[in-house]
Amino acid sequence: MHLNEPDAAEVQDLRVEIDGRALVDGVSLRVPPGRITALIGASGSGKTTTGLALLHEHPPGARVTGEIRVPDGLVGYVPQHPATVLNPARPVAALLQDIARTQIRHLPRRDRRTAIRQRILRALGQARLQDGETLLNRYPHQLSGGQQQRVVLAQALLTGAGILVADEPTTGQDAVTKQQIADQLAAVAREGIAVLLLSHDLEVVRALADHVHVLRAGRIVESGTPEQLWSRPQHSWTRALLTSAAATEPSEGPPVQNGTDETASGPAAATTVLRVRSLIARHGKSTVLRTPELLLPPGCSAIMGRSGSGKTTLARCLAGLHRSYDGEILLDGVALPRSLRDRTREQLAAVQYVFQDARAAFDEHRPVLDQVARSAIRLRAAPRTEALAEAERTLSTLGLPGDLVRRRPTELSGGELQRAALARALLARPRVLICDEITSGQDAVTRRSLRTLLAGLVRTHPELSLVLITHDRDTATLATRIAVLDDGHVVEQGPADELVTAPQHPLTAALLQPAPDVGVMSGMRG
């Protein structure tokens, strides 16, 4: 492959400026071969700009100073969403062939075809893509997410690059997928390739990285091995960043106060708020969800599962947004109409829903305050001034000041809008509040604050039934009761502490496991 280089890539005093503002301000780092170097930091810290600088790509109009040295000049790149770098109109093999073609120019013509094929198959093997040959002729949309990622990895490996930049590979994935990706990166590093890992996902960084640099506002504030940083952080920012991911489990809270509600598994539980009975939900012709029995008592419940397990469909059925199902959803023993449009005002107010994409769930033309107040006006027939006052109060308890909420949604960040969405739902004074993946895709700081918020909600609204749809372990452990879905079936449900400590089903164990196995990782690298 390639010789054991004394050094892989090096960046010295990199400074990237746009309009006088420095995105990266004097960053120097080394990315040695065979090791995984991680860059961590909050949004806007300059991670991506630095990573892309290694690829010799800069934002347009940027002034770049400093030295970037990459042996061979070849750098591989694996983005967060691999599908975006796969050409939708060409078969998967297209780019692989073109890359291989640039390498075999020196060979005589008749040997070229076989040489190309060999190289491609070798790269696919290195990327651990099964049935690589058959997949070559398919189009990207015919591959699964995991296969797409391996193809993109194969592309990087095929170029013979000595360094790979992995941009947020595990962010937004569920625990099982994270483990697979972490394994893959470790394997790549074992081959002698230098890996630069840009990530928000501190668990994975801690498990995988050999060396970590903490960035803030374009500067490296601290560097070291994960053990050093996690146990003895020197810089205050490092401390703040790392403790946000540390398991100060807010799940200590709910069990204390809701201990009385644990026995909801028996039938006719008098405190049950929502009950799902014989639910069979369909998307068009195919059945996506089969839930014979599901109980959601007051307090915080979580519905977990991997992507495509049907948890969002379940949530939407509960909310009345998905109407093609058979079976019943009972609120306090009374069946709810399938569709939103058939529900009465009281029923609408009783079950509220918070969307995953907060920005898309707001009207971009009207001020946030008005939209939040509208819930009270429409669903509780509150007069306008009262509704506005209540909205402002609720928003400020959620951390959004008055002047901010009078603006339009485009001027608020994603995290702030998510809180506004919560406020909008709360203003209807619901009995059930369904939160669909509201912590996904946010950075660690925002996630932590949302989780704190949700935990606070449970304390301040004891009659509220909070239903969290999530694949994230930390969010799920806020709940007192967890149900795990797989492929449209409930594979396990019960009290949260039981599922965390003694999961019966392997999927439950996988989803609720603390982090990619640290022991396995470090033991296998030499």
Binding site: Y77, V85, L86, N87, P88, A89, H141, V152
Partner: protein, 317 residues
């Protein structure tokens, strides 16, 4: 290709429905004639003999549904009726006019794709620069101009003032291929609008593709520029343009009518215009059905080609 068969069946059904609609529409229009149809059709020459002849040829004494059935049955056998003006079968008119029209259409289609793709790629490569701005503005402007105005101005400049080309095809009508100079202006005029529209689509598609993450990925792995453009970017740029190509086929059918009128080319368009002028309903009906069915068939063919070209993106659950 799992999705193809149901799509094909649906598409064929739609095409069949459209054909039926054309036939019914054409027939219904003659029913809309106020008063006595034969008198109305005789128009400027209301002599009793002619009125009787019309009534006979068109079987106006029989009820409407019978006439429709008879006419439809005749269509299926290739009998398109008889002209009111000359008494000749309509199909002979079609045979006469078919050649020149086919020639014009074929030439236009042949030149359209290379020109449009070439212009679009050229503009996209030089995005923002003078070449691109020029191409963009010109295509935007010319796209809106009716063929007759454009054609007349071209004739004034190139035929009358400069004398490079003949102003019409008068005298060459029977053997157009032997006199290519007479074909230049008609084809240019026919090309004008479709080229502009397609070139703009190709340009937009190319710009988007060239700025896409997948082309960036190929670029950073050292794929040379020309290959990037044609093997990686262009296939994505062609999809919306391919869909438009199907519509372009329709445009030609209309543009042909205007161009043949303007340049006096004895094709199907001229036949149609003459029939309209003489209110020769059977000829109009026959031609309308042929035009309509041709449009349906060509659209289906173009859509089929597009379907193959555009890999269906998987729908997120």
């Amino acid at each position: 290709m799992t999705g193809l068969r149901p799509w094909l069946v649906r598409r064929l059904l739609l095409g069949a429905g459209q054909t039926v609609a054309v036939v019914l529409l054409v027939f219904a229009l003659t029913e809309a004639l106020p008063g006595d149809a034969a008198v109305a059709l005789a128009g400027d020459q209301p002599d009793p003999g002619r009125i009787a002849a019309i009534r006979d040829t068109m079987h106006l004494d029989r009820p409407a549904h019978e006439r429709l059935a008879a006419w439809a049955a005749g269509l299926l056998h290739g009998d398109l009726g008889t002209s009111l003006a000359s008494g000749r079968p309509v199909s002979s008119y079609l045979a006469d006019g078919f050649g020149p029209t086919l020639l014009l259409a074929a030439l236009t289609l042949l030149l359209l794709v290379p020109l449009a793709v070439g212009l679009g790629v050229l503009a996209a490569r030089n995005e923002g620069r003078l070449v691109d701005r020029l191409i963009s503005s010109v295509t935007l402007g010319v796209y809106a101009v009716p063929e007759f105005a454009f054609g007349v101005l071209l004739v004034t400049v190139f035929a009358l003032r400069l004398g490079w080309l003949p102003p019409t095809a008068v005298g060459y009508g029977d053997d157009l291929l032997a006199h290519p100079a007479a074909l230049v202006l008609p084809v240019v005029v026919l090309l004008s609008r479709p080229v502009c529209s397609l070139a703009r689509l190709v340009r937009a598609g190319m710009i988007e593709a060239l700025a896409s993450p997948y082309v960036a990925q190929a670029r950073r792995y050292g794929i040379p520029g020309a290959r990037l453009r044609y093997a990686h970017a262009l296939p994505n740029a062609l999809a919306p343009a391919a869909q438009q190509l199907a519509r372009t086929v329709d445009w030609l059918l209309c543009g042909v009518i205007v161009v043949e009128a303007l340049f006096v080319i004895p094709g199907l368009g001229t036949v149609l215009m003459n029939a309209v002028a003489e209110r020769d309903v059977p000829v109009i009906q026959g031609l309308a059905v042929v035009f309509g069915c041709t449009a349906v068939v060509l659209n289906l063919g173009a859509d089929l080609a597009t379907y193959r070209l555009v890999p269906r993106t998987a729908v997120a659950a």
